[in-house]
């Protein structure tokens, strides 16, 4: 079941990790103030995405950079005004992949830009980066315990121990550049954060 978060601050947990770990429940979430540390703030509407690795490391991801049909690339959001890359928190790590728009589910298509979809890269099982790809099943594959998520269908869990889908990061397009349209659609990361 996906929690819906309407506001643009997203779902980044604040400094309540002590309670969360001990009691297994967090009755409220503290949102990081964007002005306090922009590098640690969650993705904001208008952010671009920059490559974490590869030949274009640090550069803005463009639609044509992404191979059609996968695999995904890892990226961090970037404030277009200041240029600050939001890599101050691992919870901001994102995966992007591109598909033919007609291959996406209706709900996923609504959050895509030119067939590009974006999700939190933080596995909802134990927090490992979902940066691997199953060539056999054409799905996102976590780098720890084999959780698999369908990128064409809201990153629903299709295998392995993950308890819930990866939160989506809705995109819009600024010409050929995918741009963040809204914050993550659900809480990022595993239960214990």
């Amino acid at each position: 079941m996906v929690e819906q978060r309407g506001n643009s601050c997203g779902c980044k947990l604040g400094r309540r990790s002590v309670l969360g770990a001990c009691l297994g429940m967090v009755p409220w979430l503290a949102h990081a103030d964007e002005t306090s540390d922009p590098a640690a703030s969650p993705p904001q509407p208008g952010d671009r995405l920059v490559f974490l690795t590869g030949e274009k490391k640090g550069q803005v991801v463009r639609v044509d950079d992404l191979p059609l049909g996968g695999p995904q690339v890892q990226a961090y959001p970037q404030d277009p005004k200041s240029g600050v890359v939001r890599n101050g928190s691992r919870l901001n790590l994102v995966v992007l992949a591109r598909f033919a728009p007609e291959d996406l589910s209706e709900e996923t298509r609504a959050r895509s830009a030119h067939g590009v979809v974006a999700y939190s890269a933080v596995c909802t099982h134990q927090g490992c980066p979902v940066n691997m790809w199953s060539n056999e099943l054409h799905v996102l594959f976590c780098s720890c315990h084999g959780s698999m998520y369908d990128p064409k269908n809201g990153a629903q869990v299709v295998g392995g121990p993950a308890p819930r889908p990866l939160p989506s990061l809705p995109l819009t397009a600024n010409s050929d550049i995918p741009v963040v349209a809204a914050g993550f659609t659900a809480r990022v990361g595993p239960e214990r954060y």
Partner: protein
């Protein structure tokens, strides 16, 4: 009856320890060097029972004539899932259990009453490849815990309150910890995990009183240090692996620590030409200074993820009519090794014998123990190769056990499985998997016509002759073994949730009990007020669970093995 308490004070209560302790503070017996060197039979003061790593107890109240009467006397839910891999540690009636998610629980060992519970928050952004812990260590009036996020914590044994904590390594760059610390002469020793994340392994010794670093010895030499010439390509040593993720054993008479090292990094040896000392090795370290006195490397230019993670057991055995001060070790690479503890601290090779089907070594040099590798079965960059056993080896970390009365070593092993993979050159990202092959591309196969997969094998420690074996046709074997003077071998490890007792001489199954989950933790045994107990955690997860998913696809095995840890304590019914 519960009463709602405001969140802040409830959290403080949980962290500081409960006031409802039935166990009087004055009852705790400080743990000393003398006690660790010669532990009392009624206690289980360290994870493998003694410094020699035997996983053996001299207790014999529970024995072959009465073990059929063993019944559960109390249980306790740990409250967490994932793989529970630690034995209950017991000091004069007080039990300490560590669990996944950075938790330590203290209980009355006879009654199961909760005394205190400690939980260390896991930092935001930390990801856990192996969310588990393999046990606490005891010294003085403290309990030592190696937290997942690579911090060593010292807790007051009576209250569970933190006394000090010290950073061991940086989890942001892939280091973490799962092992039980080793205590020797007032120092707490830990290694590091992270062999899949481009780390450089080391063993560190901290002052047990104040947590200050006393020494650090790297498993990979820096340029100019002995062995550095075995890293022929510049800079490969910096992320060469050799993680030190399992607890060492110790010889007080020579003040020597034996510690195992892990796989080479990245996984494909052709990316780091050379023998790559000291990956896949046993190190002999001076207990006071950490200086490397000797070593033995089981295979060179490691390319199969065959860690030599477990320290060998210290066992004296007979060879050619003479007693050898020996080391005995069934290795992940599929061979059982007899080595010698030399007077100068060096380690000599005596013999090696395959205990599972292994197709990588064409031969082993009878003098040096160096294998000749069949290159058809050595994967490389752009070069796919298959090899048996698979990366999980003839056995993984679960402990073998040695019984001085039967003279046998009991090995939990796995056969009839193979792996295949091909390497790529992968870009390094701090804290991310960095082996040269992605997990979905790692091949794993089994012989579908095999009569068994998991097994227990009992070998005579002197002759190497196999005395008996127990086969598991429908399960792998991930259970550490415990053996006792009652002529028994206890173990779990199978996917059917069973905990079993066998006759140590014949392998006859004498007792079994189906628990809540799969048992992948070592059992322990202890006595309180003249009553012997056998204790084990049942809580499946981590690698066995992942592998079971693969086996479900390959062989149709049940993959829904329930998770959720429970501490089980058994005793004889009246």
């Amino acid at each position: 009856m519960t009463k709602f308490i405001a969140p802040v004070s409830l959290a403080a209560l949980l962290l500081a320890g409960t006031a409802a302790a039935a166990y009087a503070a004055s009852d705790y017996t400080p743990v000393t060097d003398a006690r660790l060197a010669n532990p009392e039979p009624q206690n289980w003061l360290m994870t493998r029972g003694n410094y020699k790593g035997w996983s053996y107890s001299p207790l014999d109240q529970i024995n072959t004539s009465n073990v059929k009467n063993l019944v559960p006397v109390w249980t306790f839910s740990t409250g967490v899932d994932s793989g529970h891999e630690s034995p209950p540690i017991v000091n004069n009636g007080m039990m300490f259990v560590s669990t996944p998610y950075n938790q330590v629980i203290a209980l009355n060992a006879a009654t199961g009453e909760l005394i205190w519970r400690y939980k260390r928050p896991i930092p935001e952004g930390f990801s856990a490849l192996h969310n588990t812990n393999r046990g606490v260590a005891l010294y003085g009036d403290k309990v030592y815990f190696a937290a997942l996020d690579a911090v060593l914590v010292a807790l007051d044994a009576k209250t569970g309150k933190p006394a000090w904590e010290t950073k061991v390594a940086d989890w942001h760059t892939g280091y973490y910890m799962t092992m039980a610390p080793l205590v020797e002469k007032g120092k707490v020793l830990v290694g590091v995990s992270g062999g899949e994340f481009g780390v450089r392994g080391s063993v560190q010794a901290f002052d047990a009183e104040n947590g200050k670093l006393v020494w650090q010895t790297f498993s990979i030499p820096a340029p100019g240090e002995p062995g550095s010439n075995t890293w022929e390509k510049p800079d490969t040593w910096k992320r060469g692996g050799g993680s030190t993720w399992m607890t060492g054993n110790y010889d007080p008479s020579t003040n020597t620590v034996y510690w195992g090292t892990g796989n080479g990094s990245p996984w494909f040896g052709d990316q780091r030409p050379g023998d790559n000392l000291y990956t896949a090795s046993t190190l002999a370290l001076d207990g006071d200074t950490g200086k490397i006195k000797g070593y033995f490397q089981y295979h060179q230019n490691e390319s199969w993820d065959w860690d030599a993670m477990n320290a060998p057991m210290l066992v004296d055995f007979q060879k050619n009519g003479a007693t050898v001060h020996g080391l005995l070790s069934p290795q992940r690479n599929g061979y059982l090794y007899w080595l010698e503890r030399k007077a100068d601290g060096g380690i000599g090779f005596m013999n090696a014998m395959a205990y599972v089907k292994q197709n990588v070594f064409k031969s082993i040099d009878p003098e040096t123990g160096r294998p000749v590798v069949d290159m058809d079965h050595k994967p490389g960059t752009g070069k796919e190769a298959s090899f048996c056993p698979s990366l999980w080896g003839g056995k993984d970390w679960p402990y073998e056990a040695y019984n001085p009365q039967t003279g046998m070593v009991y090995v939990p092993s796995n056969d009839n499985h193979c792996g295949h993979m091909k390497g790529t050159v992968q870009e390094y990202v701090p804290g991310q998997w960095w082996t040269g092959v992605a997990i979905p591309d790692i091949g794993f196969t089994v012989d579908k016509n095999a009569a068994f997969y998991g097994e227990i094998q009992a070998f005579d420690a002197n002759s190497g002759k196999r005395a008996w074996r127990v086969l598991y046709p429908s399960s792998m074997m991930w259970g550490s073994l415990l053996t006792t003077a009652g002529n028994l071998v206890f173990g779990g490890g199978t996917n059917d949730r069973e905990f079993r007792a066998y006759d140590a001489r014949t392998g006859d199954q004498l007792w079994h009990f189906k628990t809540n989950s799969g048992i992948i933790a070592p059992p322990s045994t202890y006595a309180v007020d003249g009553v012997q107990y056998v204790a084990v955690q049942s809580g499946y997860g981590v690698d066995p669970a992942f592998q079971e998913g693969l086996l479900s696809n390959l062989l149709g095995w049940q993959k829904d093995i329930p998770q959720g840890g429970v501490i089980w304590v058994f005793a004889l019914s009246h």
